[in-house]
Amino acid sequence: MDTLVAALRSLLPADSVITDPVRLRTYECDGLTYHRATPGVVVLPGTAEQVAQVVRLCNEHGVPFVARGSGTGLSGGALPREDGVLIVTSKMRAILEIDLDDRRAVVEPGVTNLAITEAVRDRGYYYAPDPSSQQVCSIGGNVAENSGGAHCLKYGFTVNHVEACEIVTPDGDLVTLDRMDPGYDLLGAFIGSEGTLGIATKITVRLCRAPEAVTTVLAAFESIEQGGQAVSAIIGAGIVPAAIEMMDALAIEAAEAAVACSYPAGAGAVLIVELDGPAAEVERQFAQLREICANAFELRVAADPAERAAIWKGRKSAFAAVGRISPAYIVQDGVVPRTSLPAVLAAIDRLSAEHDIRVANVFHAGDGNLHPLVLFDDAEPGAGERAEVVSGAILDLCIEHGGSITGEHGVGVDKSRYMPKMFSEDDLDTMQLVRCAFDPQGLANPGKVFPTPRLCGEVPGVRKGVHPLVESGKAEQF
């Protein structure tokens, strides 16, 4: 490590290599604060070439590296290695090119998601994927996590909006993956790989034209079942809204306590439906929506951007808001087929009662992406453990119903142990073939996504005990 640090210092300006223990501590976790590790060294490269040189040095020294954007990840993906280098992209924040004729922008990885939209908004364009963390999260982190947002029901995820990426491969080559080039869709494989296949250093995103009309509706229902039925009816009517979000009574209570969003009193569930597109289209869909929501006891329609923001305010602050009604909480992220929502929500209710743990439900109803907030009092002995049991059982429910253990927050370190529940050993081994092609040395963000995978080059088969190469210190298992 010491020789590596010396080499890094000769490569980068003095303020771009951090070894001071106090400063290192600021990087010890991402948005998931209960996994912590102090990085061996932190570097802040300013150019792609510098990233490549750092990665090459890591290869020479056989030292693992982890990329970090804004550190808002919720699965511990950017958790550093104590024996490794943390490569932070916060100095790479230039918007390199905006080309509205081709509806694309070329940006450095540290640029925040919202900065892209802000750069083109007054010319009538925007960048579609909009995670709730969009003010701070980096586009590089979005690429790594294949992030989504409330509007991905209609507009898709990061992978549907990235045209090209320049990456530094785990062995330090600068390679461009471009949808214009023929060949394997390595860009598609890279996006969502959580920093295990290399580091994105330049990203070309697609820009969307702002829609002609946007109508945002808040519908309040007596029960979560009624809200769920409305969601099914909307989809059944052939409407694809930009977003359909749902909150249950406890989540509404939390939002109310935090931001006084004045959602209709006494609602068992509120639904936020946003329609967008050509004005004539939106108008007709809205007429249909009104009929579908006939049994809502209140229907609010935002007439202008301020009213729209007011409707979204409660939803957008829901995660932070639960802090007001509970000393501690776990944010879960799982997906079920939309038609299983009623059964799964009922089962979550039962789990909650059984373990005496409150669960607030806030979710992207259109995609079946649940974000149950599992509430507990960390001062109460055993409560944290019970909350973890409930949180884990919710993931089991998702798998049971044919869903996924993560819809947008990624696997990271947090959920790698759930991967074998969702995928067979053969599935995971096959994914490792991709990993080994990109990263034969296993240096890129090791320990994330996959539970102790095989070594590259090892023949699949039954494994028992510690691998001899690992035991002899000749190889590391990642």
């Binding site: 080309d99 509205l100 004729d101 081709d102 509806r103 989504g148 898709g156 995820f157 992978v159 390679v175 461009t176 993956l177 080039d181 023929p182 060949g183 394997y184 869709d185 390595l186 598609g188 494989a189 969502g192 034209r209 829609p211 002609e212 099914s232 989809i235 059944g236 052939g238 597109g277 050509p278 004539a280 289209e281 108008e283 007709r284 997906v335 087929p337 939309r338 038609t339 995609d367 079946g368 044919g402 869903g403 996924s404 253990i405 927050h409 959920k415 991967m419 969702m422 995928f423 067979s424 599935d427 081994d429 096959t430 994914m431 073939l433 991709v434 080994c436 092609a437 996504v449 996959f450």
Partner: protein, 383 residues
């Protein structure tokens, strides 16, 4: 499972296999590939066989793995807008079943006769509406593949939102059968649009780029803007499509942007169609280069069809074209666009042009198919 001796009609771009195997289950595909691995047999998968002549001939081919018997639609969850189908299901059969439920897979696969789910994925050519809905890789949410050693692997699943693990579906989409066999696929669906309108106009070549730019930026949101230029030198037809309950009103808006044209509920007869593909060249370019690309095509004598807004068109040779003529045309086109020769009966051509990630692609191929038994030599860089 049926295994028969191959006949002359089973040749893959001129290379005759020894056997044709027709598996009926994923397990049988695995059995064929395992046997192939034991005996070092080269395998080429096929669905409808409509484009087996695309790409260079395989270096060797012992078994043609015909997926036509894997033709079951396994699950249609209408309320979830999701369908899971075996690779050999024809796009026609799939579309018919979905239409009966008011839904569609928003991929245009125009020459539908026999075209299969697996072949559509493995070739992954974007159709007209990819401008709005994306290509096959964007609509695929889960996949089951069989690797050259017989391993059966899944990735993704049957929910639209899923970021667990690597997306093998992306990797296999557009892999031309060189990594393994696609056995099953799960797609996200869309409701069938309530109404469709095309606005069709005749334009001069110079008008295309500005009209396309206006349409692409339009809040009337066309689903597709296609051009048909059968005889570069002659007139050019542009057709723009809008879909939805207000299609009629929006078609009016398109007409204004185009500066004329007639709205119709009839799909133009040439829409998304390729008539002759003995020679077929794909061009990809940035929309702002549209005018320059049209100028370059004008000199080649190739007929053009494709999207004026996505920067993707196909060129076909209506008449005879020698290898030298084609090579000269492609060289000229490469000054303006990426040009890929998808089909040509010649050996000496540089079919793919620049491929920036080629070393990484080779490494992926080596990991998945170390014995080079899957469609060897059929893809970029001789992969």
């Amino acid at each position: 499972m049926t295994v028969r001796e191959a006949g002359p009609g089973d040749a893959v771009n001129g290379v005759r296999p020894r056997w044709v195997a027709l598996p009926e289950t994923v397990g049988e595909i695995a059995a064929v590939l395992r046997a192939g691995a034991e005996q070092d047999l080269a395998v080429v998968p096929t669905g409808g066989g409509t484009k087996l002549h695309w790409g260079p001939p395989p270096e060797r081919c012992d078994v043609l793995l015909d997926l036509c018997c894997m033709n079951e639609i396994l699950e249609h969850a209408a309320g979830d807008l999701v369908v899971r189908a075996q690779a050999g299901v024809t796009m026609d059969a799939l579309a018919g079943m979905l239409a009966a439920k008011g839904q569609e897979l928003a991929l245009d696969v125009p020459f539908t006769e026999g075209t299969t789910v697996g072949g559509t994925l493995a070739a992954s050519l974007p159709g007209p509406r990819s401008f709005r809905y994306g290509t096959a890789r964007d609509l695929l949410i889960g996949i089951t593949v069989v690797l050259p050693d017989g391993t059966i692997a899944c990735s993704g699943g049957k929910v639209v939102k899923n970021v667990a693990g690597y997306d093998l579906g992306k990797l296999f989409t557009g892999s031309y059968g060189t990594l393994g066999v696609i056995a099953e696929a799960t797609f996200r669906l869309h409701p069938l649009p309530a109404d469709r309108r095309w606005v069709v106009a005749e334009l001069d070549r110079a008008e295309v780029a500005p009209v396309a730019a206006r349409l692409a930026a339009s809040q009337a949101e066309p689903s597709a803007v296609e051009v048909d230029w059968p005889d570069p030198g002659g007139p050019l037809t542009l057709a723009a499509l809008v879909e939805g309950t207000a299609a009629e009103a929006r078609a009016g808006a398109l007409r204004e942007l185009i500066g004329g044209g007639s709205p119709t509920t009839e799909q133009p007869s040439w829409w998304g169609l390729i008539e002759r593909d003995e020679v077929l060249v794909e061009l990809r370019f940035l929309p702002k280069d549209t005018a320059a690309v049209l100028d370059a095509v004008a000199g080649t004598g190739l007929a053009l069809r494709g999207s004026a807004v996505s920067g993707r068109v196909l060129l076909e040779a209506r008449g005879a074209l020698t290898e030298d003529e084609l090579a000269a045309a492609v060289a000229r086109l490469r000054e303006r666009a990426r040009a890929h020769v998808l089909a040509a009966p010649y050996d000496g051509l540089d079919r793919w042009g620049r491929v920036s990630g080629l070393p990484l692609m080779r490494r992926v191929k080596e990991r998945f198919d170390p014995g080079r038994r899957m469609s060897p030599g059929r893809f970029v860089g001789g992969i």
